[in-house]
Symmetry: C2
Subunit: 417 residues, 2 copies
Amino acid sequence: MDTSDFPARAATANTPGAWGAHLAERAARLDAADRLAPVRGLFALDERVVYLDGNSLGALPAHVPERMRDVIARQWGELGIRSWSESGWWTAPERVGDRVAPLVGAEPGTVVVADSTSVNVFKALVAAVRLAPEGRDEIVVDATTFPTDGYIAESAARLTGTRLVPVEPAEVAGRVGPRTAVALVNHVDFRTGRLHDLPGTTRAVREAGALAVWDLCHSAGALPVGLAEHGVDLAVGCTYKFLNGGPGSPAFLYVAPRHQRGFDSPLPGWNSHADPFAMAPGYAAADGAVRGRVGTPDILSLLAADAALDVWDHEAVDIPAVRAKSLALTDFFLECVAVYAPAGRVASVTPRAHAERASQVALRCAQAPAVMEALIARGVVGDLRRPDLLRFGFTPLYTRFADAERAARVLGEVLAA
Amino acid sequence: MDTSDFPARAATANTPGAWGAHLAERAARLDAADRLAPVRGLFALDERVVYLDGNSLGALPAHVPERMRDVIARQWGELGIRSWSESGWWTAPERVGDRVAPLVGAEPGTVVVADSTSVNVFKALVAAVRLAPEGRDEIVVDATTFPTDGYIAESAARLTGTRLVPVEPAEVAGRVGPRTAVALVNHVDFRTGRLHDLPGTTRAVREAGALAVWDLCHSAGALPVGLAEHGVDLAVGCTYKFLNGGPGSPAFLYVAPRHQRGFDSPLPGWNSHADPFAMAPGYAAADGAVRGRVGTPDILSLLAADAALDVWDHEAVDIPAVRAKSLALTDFFLECVAVYAPAGRVASVTPRAHAERASQVALRCAQAPAVMEALIARGVVGDLRRPDLLRFGFTPLYTRFADAERAARVLGEVLAA
């Protein structure tokens, strides 16, 4: 783990004085030059709060309540059952999938939005074992994974007669071999914010004859993923973090075009049938992304995510711009923490190298629970990962450099108190 | 299949005259005496339309849009991540489950609302195979099932090394034996509206040493189910039909208290962990209904269903009252159809016997697609099950006897045209 102690000038934290004024001015200049600055206006944000938890629950886009009123009152209330066709409900999972696709570098027709991330991990892993060459009996799984992926992988292994091999993400490339059916890796470590090597690991996994399945929960909407470019086999991800889809909005599943015809889902619900309304007793899988569907989509949650994706249509918004601002924000936050935090009280576990950093900063801190509680009380909302990590997510669409400066300043005050 | 042709007086359909006036008067008297009549006011209904598709998508309770505005604008928009605790989001699946439980005769703490029906069928079947005595290798499945149950059962059989045995529901009791691990039966036939014998079938399945899993999609909220009373092992059901939860609102899963400690989910996502926020690498299942959860709940869809359940708190509403009105409505509708429909043009496939009838009427009709289209154009909304069934759902909470009379009258006009 990359743990960086902050330099000694942090000792000035109790009397930020000149340094603080300098950082506040820097923040103002950076915000003034930020081409994404106008996008913040698309969100409903409490100006008294610095919201640095968009890596857990993205902020509400301001137009979503009105859109959902239409979905609920008119589409459901007035059109009723007719909305399955007239309001496009039936095809929403793949239509919304096609809006997510360009954000993760996926081909059109390869992404479906439905079910939870956990359920999609299950679909992807079982399908990957079935797609892998005969006789392979190992599922390599990220040893530092967000836990649900590991739990579900254990279940997939048990049900497919394979065994689980936990491996550190950086060692996956060297560990995969002739027995590996599939490797499941998180693109970003949910604790540290470390960005793993998707292109290199995918290449190694595929050269070993196995399939690479990526969990993009903490990278989708935050940085370039390049699913097609890097030849990823299958992927899952979340729409309620950097895509701002709302609490528990459905996750997405990517199936590379070369695997679509062979994708053999362990959850072949009627929504994935080639002719669902024939209601035939025999299952026949649909072609394309639809095959990843299971049951009736949770329309309200799904259409809130759909509405939230509108912010990506703003002329200033694209993934490279988001990535550039994300790195600038986290650089600046780390710099501010170094100035404001009393020496030795926090240590970043987030990599300094841009190539290894996603869009959050995690600080190790002895009294992390009490510190986070105090931060939230003072209007700086991050979150906690037990036992000792303060986690701050930076969503470039609505987070300002001034927010980063204020968060670090308040953190310094809390730590000094 | 119980096919009842209507009697010859249907020949009066083109000149309903006295018969029609008589039926309209009867409807008015029945509505005036209906203790559930005031409940209709709790729903947002287009008075120009007779909505007989509540067995597919329940009507919108009038207070839901405002409730969802609060969920979206305040809980998500203002409280953000804090709503997982402060707005009760995290515990909503089991809290809403405890509201569904009494409607299906389940014990408190046995029902969780999460994921789609299909996903819950998968959890229930794989868990049931694991709960069944060693060595049993058959999954008996309703041969007339709603198709997704059959598709998912096929997948569960494949993954658990069991085999699928399709059996007509009425024959399940006689077919289960020492090789049966589990029997999955629909409480109601989605095509004909036939109500199957849950108490007797459950008894026979359990006497054979197997587990009974019921799909309650078309009975929950429409009639007494008595899960605890009849000793059902596991059950799944839908919240968007007679429970009016909104399009694709999450389904529910029931696990009998005696099975909760042994319930071994094939989808052990982090939400079902005993200490999810420990984010521990090893899985340890939570106790109780929570064990049926998987990933992050789709809060918007779930809380719309929660809000919709408020109508069951109305003083006039309980399941016996709903059942009584449902039977009276479908009796009356069948009577009206017999009067208004030209002879020989439609035949009911819904049983006449109350003990065998759920809350819909299905009419076989030669030009069913065109007839349903014409009905909808004239403001009578039912639906179609290919190739030749007109399906009319009766939701006693908001359907009036006058609606039944009008629907039958318009059907007669369409058939005569």
